[in-house]
């Protein structure tokens, strides 16, 4: 099993932390994992992306040119990464703020109204977890229970009371995928 994932969007949307939680969940599930951020002076507002590789074998390159799975949170990232999903791969995106939808037909494109669901749930900060839920539905690389354990590791203890909210968001994201 190997899943080469790119998660991309604006800084502040929780792109890097979503990758981090997935990475910790994979560790909990005894997988090999690499998490490689696009680091830089790109805080809120700029673009940010992270490459997460999950595998049951040792991972060579942490840097990739094509991906099995893409989770796309803004137009710039869609423009940049749509063409880099491997044929047969999965592209998950939130249509909120997207004015040019994906056009590829050789991949599975999944539209997830995560922003809408976030507003409905009144939990702006769990936006990324809704998308993580959608990702886990399409790519059941790790069980939700491992993600919850991953959350415990990725979040500082003072935020542990928010884990149930995040778990609810993950399950909501899973339900959003038809």
């Amino acid at each position: 099993m190997k899943d080469e994932i790119i998660i991309a969007g604006f800084g502040g949307q929780g792109v890097l932390s979503m990758g981090k939680i997935l990475a910790y969940a994979a560790l909990e599930n005894n997988l090999e994992v690499t998490w490689m951020p696009s680091y830089g002076p790109e805080q809120r507002g700029g673009t940010a992306n992270v490459t997460v590789i999950l595998s049951d074998e040792p991972i060579s390159s942490p840097v990739l040119d094509t991906y099995d799975t893409a989770v796309i949170l803004n137009q710039q990232s869609l423009d940049k990464f749509e063409g880099k999903v491997k044929p047969g791969g999965v592209l998950i995106y939130d249509p909120y703020g997207i004015h040019r939808a994906p056009t590829r037909t050789d991949i599975t494109v999944v539209s997830v109204d995560a922003m809408e669901a976030t507003i409905e749930m009144g939990q702006a900060k769990s936006y990324n977890m809704i998308l993580l839920g959608a990702l886990l539905k399409m790519r059941p690389d790790v069980p939700v229970e491992a993600v919850v354990r991953g959350l415990k590791k990725a979040l500082p203890e003072r935020h542990h009371h928010l884990i149930p909210v995040n778990e609810a968001a993950i399950r909501r994201g899973m339900d959003l995928v038809k």
Partner: protein, 354 residues
């Protein structure tokens, strides 16, 4: 955890006595993690944010002169500032660990990954005839492991050693097994291990002087001869490298650090197309694995040296094979990291579809 965090954890677990540093991207997490872990309350390790890189390296000099296990970390522009101190450490035969998480230069350059300090790290960097033992980690695990290795080699040979990493392995997270906690050495153990250290003279011990200054040229030449003997000894004993797929290879890639992993993926992809490429990854950049590369290159049609710089290690690769095999360079600069496909395309262009 991140490679930079692994360095911090490994330093505490090694039983290091002190860390002196100044923040700079992409390695600020080293100091940040040490400050968060507060080892001064557990092992007694000193962690100090100095006012600059120049003072950091001179604090390292001071600590090292007393036989303590001390270290610093920085990134390219900061390591340039440290060169005077590093030359003094080498000349005073002091063990210390310096970590350089390279970013793109020259000048302040970029904060993104680079390997353009290869020359600086392996060919001296500061003034005078000296070498550092240079270790190039390619995984977060090696970031952790090379802290102990770097310190051990530094103490064994009384010479500073350097971990030459890059922004990729510093910033990326992966699985790591940390070494067990070792106690810091006691004052008695330091006196026994480092009889040269300035530890406060008690009783009749001869006075220890730690200095790089020697105005008598005859003595200074003797000192240099002693340094060179140490370097020959290190070259004999401490060469480290990793060879993959070299037995049946038609082409060879030589790459170090995280770039070697990108090349490994290119090599595995190429094997699916029937192109047989081998990899030699120097782990010690100094001493350089000349023999291993010569051996691996015996039956190959060409060598591609992949580095994220304009071509620095390629000079040592050429020396290794004495230009009996064509050697080409592929690299990106300024913080750009090539992907596996670019590496494979470069190899095909240079050797297969030329």
């Amino acid at each position: 955890m991140k490679g930079n965090e692994a360095i911090a954890h490994a330093a505490i677990r090694y039983g290091a006595d002190g860390y002196f540093g100044y923040p700079i991207t992409p390695q600020s997490e080293v100091l940040e993690t040490l400050e968060a872990l507060m080892p001064w309350e557990t092992t007694g390790m000193v962690v100090l944010q100095a006012e600059s890189e120049v003072s950091s390296i001179n604090m390292v000099y001071g600590g090292a002169a007393t036989g303590k296990a001390v270290m610093t970390s920085s990134s390219s522009p900061g390591v340039s500032l440290m060169q005077e101190g590093i030359s003094y450490l080498a000349a005073s035969e002091l063990p210390a660990l310096i970590v350089n998480v390279m970013r793109g230069g020259p000048g302040l350059g970029t904060i993104h990954p680079s390997q353009s300090d290869y020359f600086q790290a392996t060919k001296g960097g500061g003034h005078g005839d000296y070498h550092l033992i240079v270790l190039a980690p390619s995984t977060v695990q090696e970031m952790a492991d090379f802290v102990a290795l770097g310190f051990d080699l530094a103490f064994k040979y009384r010479t500073p050693s350097m971990i030459l990493a890059d922004g990729i392995v510093g910033q990326m997270m992966e699985k790591v097994v940390l070494p067990p906690q070792r106690p810091r050495r006691t004052a008695e153990q330091i006196k026994e291990q480092c009889p040269w250290a300035v530890t406060g003279r008690e009783g009749s011990r001869k006075r220890n002087v730690v200095t790089s200054l020697e105005l008598d040229s005859a003595v200074m030449e003797k000192n240099n001869e002693r340094f060179q003997r140490t370097y020959r000894e290190i070259e004999k004993n401490e060469v480290r490298y990793e060879a993959r797929y070299t037995e049946d290879a038609d082409y060879l890639i030589v790459a170090f650090g995280s770039i070697a992993r990108i090349c490994l993926k290119a090599i595995e992809d190429a094997r699916k197309e029937g192109i047989k490429i081998g990899l030699v990854r120097p782990i010690t950049l100094w001493p350089f694995p000349f023999d291993a590369i010569r051996e691996a290159a015996r039956n190959v049609k060409g060598i591609l040296c992949v580095e994220i710089n304009a071509g620095q290690m390629i000079e040592d690769v050429r020396l290794a094979v004495s230009d009996r095999v064509p050697v080409c360079h592929f690299g990106r600069m300024g913080g750009i990291v090539p992907n596996p496909q670019e590496v494979l395309d470069a190899l095909k262009k240079d050797f297969i579809n030329k």
